[in-house]
Symmetry: C2
Amino acid sequence: MNYMHRIDSNMPPLQHSSLAALGEFGLISRITSAVSPGEGVITGIGDDAAVTSLSPGMQLLVSTDMLVEDVHFDLGWHDPSRLGRKSLAVNISDIAAMGGIPRWVLLSLALPSDLPLDFIDRFMRGFLGMAAEHRVALIGGDTCSSRSGLSISVTVMGEQAPELILRRSGALPDDDIWVTGTLGDAALGLKVVQNGGTGDDYPVSRLLDPSPRVSAALALAEAGVVTAMIDVSDGILADFGHIAEQSHVGGCIYRDDLPLSAGFRSHTADLSEIPYQLALSGGEDYELCFTAHRSNRKKIVDCMKKSGIAVTRVGIVINSPGVAVLCPDGTRYEVNSDGFNHFT
Amino acid sequence: MNYMHRIDSNMPPLQHSSLAALGEFGLISRITSAVSPGEGVITGIGDDAAVTSLSPGMQLLVSTDMLVEDVHFDLGWHDPSRLGRKSLAVNISDIAAMGGIPRWVLLSLALPSDLPLDFIDRFMRGFLGMAAEHRVALIGGDTCSSRSGLSISVTVMGEQAPELILRRSGALPDDDIWVTGTLGDAALGLKVVQNGGTGDDYPVSRLLDPSPRVSAALALAEAGVVTAMIDVSDGILADFGHIAEQSHVGGCIYRDDLPLSAGFRSHTADLSEIPYQLALSGGEDYELCFTAHRSNRKKIVDCMKKSGIAVTRVGIVINSPGVAVLCPDGTRYEVNSDGFNHFT
C-alpha cells in the first residue's frame, strides 16, 4: 500500500537510539513526518488544537480508550507493531458500533524514558497502518514521560448522518440477536499466550490484532435494519446486557448457536466439553452484536455477505429483564462470570 | 452556583469506601449521576461513542493532554479537587488559545485500586466545577485500573467559525508581542511547594489551580485583531518560539516589560536579582501569548479591560529567525533553559 510505503520512507533512519537523546519535540516531529493529510482536516498536528470540518449534515461521534501496560497488555507477548494497531482498532470499533465513519484520531503516549526508539517506530508503523486501512487521520495528541510503564490513550472521532446512527437503546421484544464473526477467540488467545503460546496462532492473532468491523457496521447502518448495536469488548453476555438494560428488555442467547472459529474448536477439541464461557464472557473479540426485526433476516444475511463478514443469529430479545443462556434442551446454562470489570 | 449544588446533591453518600467494592460500572454511574446535559450533546455517557452536534457553520477544535502522577503532579501537594480542576483547565486553555468556544470533554482515568473513593469524588467535584464554569459537558471517557500511579487523560472539544480561529502561524514582522496576566507565578509556586510551602500562597495557587483565559481569548478572536496566538504552558520563550517558528519570523522580548505579580515580587524581593528566567522559561502559567499589528494597541487594551484580564506588550516580532531577550540597555539577556521538555 502507498500509505505504508509513505510511513516507511518518511520516517528517517534513527540517528538517536534513545528517547532521551531525541527529546519530546524530536519525537513529535518524527511522528508527524509519517502522517499523511486526511479528509476534513483543516489544521493537523502542531497547533494548540487540531481543526477539522464535519461533512454537511453529519453529527460528531467520539470515543476514547486508555491502554495501560500490565493491565491491558503485556510487552512480553504483545509486539509493538500489533500493539500500535490494536490501540487504534479498539477505538475504531466503538465508532463502528454506532454505525459511524471513523475520521480522525488523537494519540497520547506516556513513555518510560528507557523505551527504545525502535519500539516507538514499530508501534507507530502499526498504529498508522491501521489508520491507513480505515482512512483515519492522526491530527494530534500528547507525549510525556512515565515513571512506570507505558500508557496509551487514544481518542477517535467519526461522523454519521443523524438518522443512521445506531445506539444501544433501540432493541425491541422479539427482535433477533445477531453477532458478526466468531466469539471467544481472543479470550482463548489470552490463555494460549499466558501458557507460552505464540502469536501465529489464530486465537492469539485475534487477541493481539483485532479487526474492527467498520464496513460491516456501515453496511448495516445504511441498510436501516438494525434496532440496537454494540461492539463485543467484554463478552457478548455483558455487552448484550448493555443493550438489554438501555433498551429496557431482556434476552435469550442460544448457547449452541454461538459462532466458534475452526481455530477455537481445534484448540479446545481435547477438552471434555466446549468452553462456552469463553465465547459468552471472554473479552476483546471486537465483533458487532446487534438486534433487528425478524422480517429483516434475509436483508441482513445478504448485506453481510457483501461485506465478507460472517453473521449468526444467536438469540432473541424478550420482554422481561435479564439475559439467559439456554441449552438445546431448553434448560438454563449457568455462566460463572459476566465479563471483564476493572477494580474487582 | 446551581451546577455545583447539583454535583453535590446528585453524588449520593458513599456506601463503599473502596474502588474495588464499587467496581468499574459503579464508578461510571456514580460519575454520570453528577453530570448535567450540555449544549449540542445528542448522546452523552453510556453508549459506544458520544454523539454531538456542532453549531451551524462551525469547525471542530480538539485537543488532548495526559497528566501522569509524579511527572505532572505530586499528590503530596496537589489536593484532589484542584487536580480535577487543573486536568480540565490545561485542556480548555488549548481551545482558548485557538480562539475557540470549549464545548465537550472526555475524561479517562487509570486508577490505582487502593485509591480511596473519597479522592475520586473530590477529584470529580473539582473537574465538574471547572466544566460548569466554562459550560463544558462531560460526554464520555474511560476508567481502568493502574498497577502504578494515577494517570489522567483529557480530551476537550470546542468549536468556532473558520474565520475566527487563531493559529500559531500568522505573526508578521513588526507585530507587537502581547501576554495576558502575569508570568512565572506557577514556576515559582513549584519551587515553593517543593520547599514545603502551602497551597494558599498566590504563586502556589497559580500552579495548582490555573485559570484558562477563555473569555479573553474569545474577545480577542471576535475583535479580529490577533495575527497569532498560543497559550503559555512551557514558558513564553519556548511558546513564543513556536509562534516564531510556524510564522517564519523571530522576536525580541523586553525582559523588564515581563508582567510579574505582586506575589512573585514579594516572594523574590530578598534575592539579589529578579529571577526573570522563571517568567521566561517557567511552565504552566496558562496565559495567552499573541501577536497583533501596532495599529490595534488601543483596541486590545480596551478589549482586555472588558474581559477583566490584564494585558502587557512584551516585545516585537522581527524578520529574522530566533528569539532574543533584551535588557533595558539593549544587551542580550542570557537564559539558561528554554522551557520544559519531556524525556531530557
